[in-house]
Amino acid sequence: MTDKTKLAVGQEAIETFGWLRAHRFLLLRRASQAFFLVLFLLGPWFGIWWVKGNLSGSLTFNILPLTDPFIALQGLMAGHWPELTALIGAIIVGAVYALIGGRVYCSWVCPINPVTDGAHWVHDKLGLQKGWQPKRTTRFWVMGMVLVASVATGTIAWEFVNPISMLHRGLIFGMGFAWTFVIAVFLFDVFVSRRGWCGHLCPVGAFYGLLGSKSVVRISAVERAACDDCMDCFAVCPEMQVITPALRGKEGDTPLILSPDCTNCGRCIDVCAMDVFKFTTRFDDTHAPAREQRKRTQPATGASKAA
């Protein structure tokens, strides 16, 4: 670690490139989230019915059907073979996310993302401990549980509680008490578990992660040799475990972030003053020399060894 770790996260990037460039992917992402929400709200608010429905299923320009593939899968598990329209919609959505990164859904589309990002911001401001940190694999267990529950109850099980559809459908069709689910996720992320919902539990994210495990669009730590250990990328990354193999890779290791957990949010690109990261494809084999052997700023003392 260097002295720069003491600086506020992203401070150096702001000083180097200016505020706007040091927030470009964050701003783009918020714009994208707002875009997908407004697209669905144009109809009920302004009577412009370009898109009908919600994230579970929709119809665009009266021709393009889209279906959430995880919901379609639960329906199949529950024993209902859907009409062709829903199948085609699920295949389109599935194919797109398999190409651009499954968890792009999480960071660029999902309406719960601003909620949990907000929770993380509050968590940070309050200086709280990280709290309960279940294993990263927990969400796959939850996903399996949801599929088993779909079979057992003969229903699309997760849709009874899914905070994503509760919020999105609530905003478009009427909320009722669905906001309680959203508040619950917010409070969970603030007080119980830092980045707990999206990062550890949500089965929808788990499904999309699996869906995009061979996705083409990837972030690469291509300039990793320039890394100065400021740790800002780790601080902003919602799935920080994905960075290490790429950034800290040895000579010959790929600089691509290939973990399906990566949401392609691009915040690491924003905050890096050394311009280490960039969007590229998984076929990008640009040579990326590893970093030099790290220098310790504080040589280990006998006391710290003992500790």
Binding site: G53, G57, A78, H80, P82, E83, V148, T153
Partner: protein
């Protein structure tokens, strides 16, 4: 060397087993909680009516993705998506309340056309075949027609007038010389659109209500043969019972088919019975 190698392996195995046990237990608990929540949430209130063509409720919740496209394509804003805490059906699923806005029974059934999954069955092409529920004249004490007045509104608004609801004339026992025109619903024609319930002139709750068929109908008693509806082989083909004339006893084997001519009953109709004693205390025998 091999011991040094195997030790971390056994630790890995132990850790894996611990994690697996923990994960499985956690998921079992969460899964049971979720299933319990689902079984509570799937109870459909009697007055929440599913759109036309909706599958049976159990199949419906396996098929409906709660996208609301049926709601969007309903031209009369009849359909709504259930809101958590306010409406009874499973959150986000489509339904309507007949007393608020009934189904107008569009010829082209746009809600069914809009459904991407088949939760609303594409097999329904004639809206008259819809089966959303069954109207029941539930309050026969306050229905104006049942009181002997001529309201007739439910009968006249019915899209399948004279078939789904007919008025049946009965004697008015109260006045003694008027008629009661009783609205009678016929289950084979009623689509459950709810226009009768919507139009009932009573303030507040309607006297006629659309209910799910599971509540509105009893199971037919198949062990009773309705002789007037079917040719009953038990009576007509297998056993030829003798035709008898009236007379004492039904086992008249001396003269099958009726009385023998020489055994005509006594004209006095007392059968030749003479009491051998007199009952005490009756006026006729008092000296």
């Amino acid at each position: 060397m091999s011991a040094a190698k195997s030790k971390p392996k056994s630790m890995d195995r132990r850790r894996f087993l611990q994690d697996a046990a923990r994960g499985a237990t956690g998921c079992a608990v969460a899964g049971i909680a979720l299933s319990q929540f689902i079984s509570d949430a799937r109870a459909l209130p009697a007055q929440a009516i599913r759109p036309p063509g909706a599958l049976d409720e159990n199949d419906f919740l396996a098929a409906c993705i709660r996208c609301g496209l049926c709601v969007r394509d309903c031209p009369y804003d009849t359909l709504k998506l259930a809101e958590l805490g306010y409406d009874g059906p499973a959150t986000g699923t489509p339904f309507f309340t007949a007393r608020d806005v009934p189904c107008e029974m569009c010829e082209d059934i746009p809600c069914v056309v809009a459904c991407p999954t088949g939760a609303l069955d594409k097999g329904l092409t004639n809206i008259d075949d819809a089966d959303m529920g069954l109207a029941v004249l539930i309050d026969q004490e306050r229905c104006l027609n049942a009181l002997g007045l001529r309201c007739d509104v439910c009968y006249r608004v019915c899209p399948v007038i004279d078939e789904a609801i007919s008025l049946e004339r009965r004697h008015n026992e109260r006045s003694g010389h008027h008629a009661i025109f009783m609205p009678v619903v016929h289950s084979d024609k009623c689509t459950g659109c709810g226009k009768c319930e919507k139009s009932c002139v009573l303030p507040g709750e309607a006297a006629i209500k659309v209910l799910p068929r599971r509540l509105a109908m009893a199971e037919a008693a198949d062990h009773y043969k309705l002789g007037w509806e079917e040719n009953n082989p038990l009576v007509d083909d297998l056993i030829d019972l003798p035709d008898r004339l009236p007379g004492p006893g039904t086992d008249n084997l001396v003269a099958p088919g009726g009385y023998a001519p020489d055994a005509l009953p006594d004209p006095n109709m007392d059968g030749g019975f003479t009491p051998s004693f007199n009952l005490p205390g009756t006026g006729a025998t008092k000296p």
